[in-house]
Amino acid sequence: MPQLPHMPAFLRRYGTLIGFLAIVLFFWTQRPQTFMTLPNWVNITRQMSILGVVAFTMTIVMVTGDFDLSVGAMASLVGIVAGSAFQSGAGVGEAVALALLVGLAGGALNGLLVAGVGISAFVATLGTLTVFRGLALYTSGGASIYGRVIPAEFSSFGRGAIQLGELRIPNLTLLAALVLALVFVILRFTIVGRRLYAIGGNREAARFGGIRIARLRMLSFVISGLGAAVAGLMLFSRLSTAHPTQGEGLMLQAIAAVFLGMTMNEEAQPNVLGTLVGVLILGVLANGLTQMQIDTYIQQILTGLIIILAVTLSSLSQRGLRAPEWLRRLLSERRTT
């Protein structure tokens, strides 16, 4: 049998991970004193914690085969909401509760439109994205909220850390780890998780098979709305500033991270450990390239190329590592598409 043994399967599942390690190794050799240090890694995890929370909860939405484009706008809006609450004299507890409520309501709106009304997730969340952004801009009058109105204990959370022996683990990192663990358990070990994957696998079959699709899709949007709200609060706390568009960049990055993670799964399904690697790839690239003092524009080019490369490699290895084939395929059209 002219089949390669387990190598391709290994590469397929771990191709992206290997790519990640290669990137780490590269930066290590390039910046031996600074890159592979504990402080820098703590630093990277803190920098990625906010994107992480969004990407982890987005993973749940994507498991059911949907998207949530509104997360970035929601994160911004939540910052403005909490900021406005502070301005009108609310305490930290009240402001945070209000912010989470907004995230929940926004997620429920998305869920209602997608699962209830039956609009495609793309257009529904594109619509709510626009609405949330408009609301954030309108509420804030386009201006940032910062300064003395923000309680010190709120900002200190985002900059604080917990001392664990030698290690100072930033609060934000811990929070992201918590969300990661939660999502991991839900998707991997619970009945709900199994049902979510079934919906993503074949929606009609799931319904015929007695799964309450609408409720679960609704749930997944609520979770991602809450995730966006948590991320918005983290961003606000970290910067002590709420700007009405400060979360916008999160959306495409989170989706990219989930897609990178999907390459690490046999069935190309979203999975949260893969998403974690995706988030880390994006984080390490930004950190390492900046340390190497690469021009930001070239950083962008490289980031794009590396994403493409990682996905390409893991996709090619799925086809048994016969690289020239995919070129021939375009001409001869033999293989499975």
Partner: protein
Amino acid sequence: APSIAVMTPFLAQPGTQLMVEGFEAAAADKGWQVNVIDTSEDIAALVSRMEDVALQGVDAIVINVDPTQIEPGLQAAADAGIPVFGLDSGAHPLLATNVTSNGYTMAAETATYVVDRLNGAGNVVMFIFEPYPPVQKRGAIAQAIFDNTPDIHIMDAITPSFDNGPLEGARNAMEAVLLAHPEAGSISAVWAAWDDPALGALQAIEDAGRADEGIVIVGIDATNQARDAIARGSNFEATVAQDFSGMAARVADLVEARLGGMMSAQVNHYVPARLVTQADLVG
């Protein structure tokens, strides 16, 4: 009442906000109806909206954007006989007037402040932004001044990523720079072309526990947030206050004159800016 459209793609910028607020205040005194249009960094949309207001027939348009990039909009206004006023934009033949601070002097003031504080020697990190001409101009001037001081070395000229706002972008970039140069004293100063990256850099420095190394940070625009930082005696030492409301008031006066039938022969009106340090803020 006369109806005035204020148009900008940059309303999210603090400086623009101050100008727009100033103009609205002045307009309220004069009893005008003001319509503020912000296209969130989309220049083409701004042109479209200019065409719309030109067709709708407002009495005057005030812009805060590089006029060379919106010529079709200016043309539409000119065709409709509507005067267009630049508010910190730039000169253009189709503009009635442009009121601005002198970007060259602002950059020179902060750069020379850095040179003086370092006694002419040290390593400077620059935060620049080429895409927006008035800010690009600042970077060029500051760079010229640093290059002209033999013992000042520019370690890095960073364009911060805007993905999560310039504050976060600058902060992440600065964290990486700090890690790449861990020795105390290896970074002498941060020169930022506007206040946001200066604030981001300040946060990074403070979080890294390197606030006591004497890194000098300067910005431009004197936003409230920057003033707070300077006032509390942080590493952020100086910024330049543009007189945004003064500029806005000046434009409002020019608009009023024009509506009254007076033409101004002078195209560029400069409103002076001044350096702000802790001394100016405390007491």
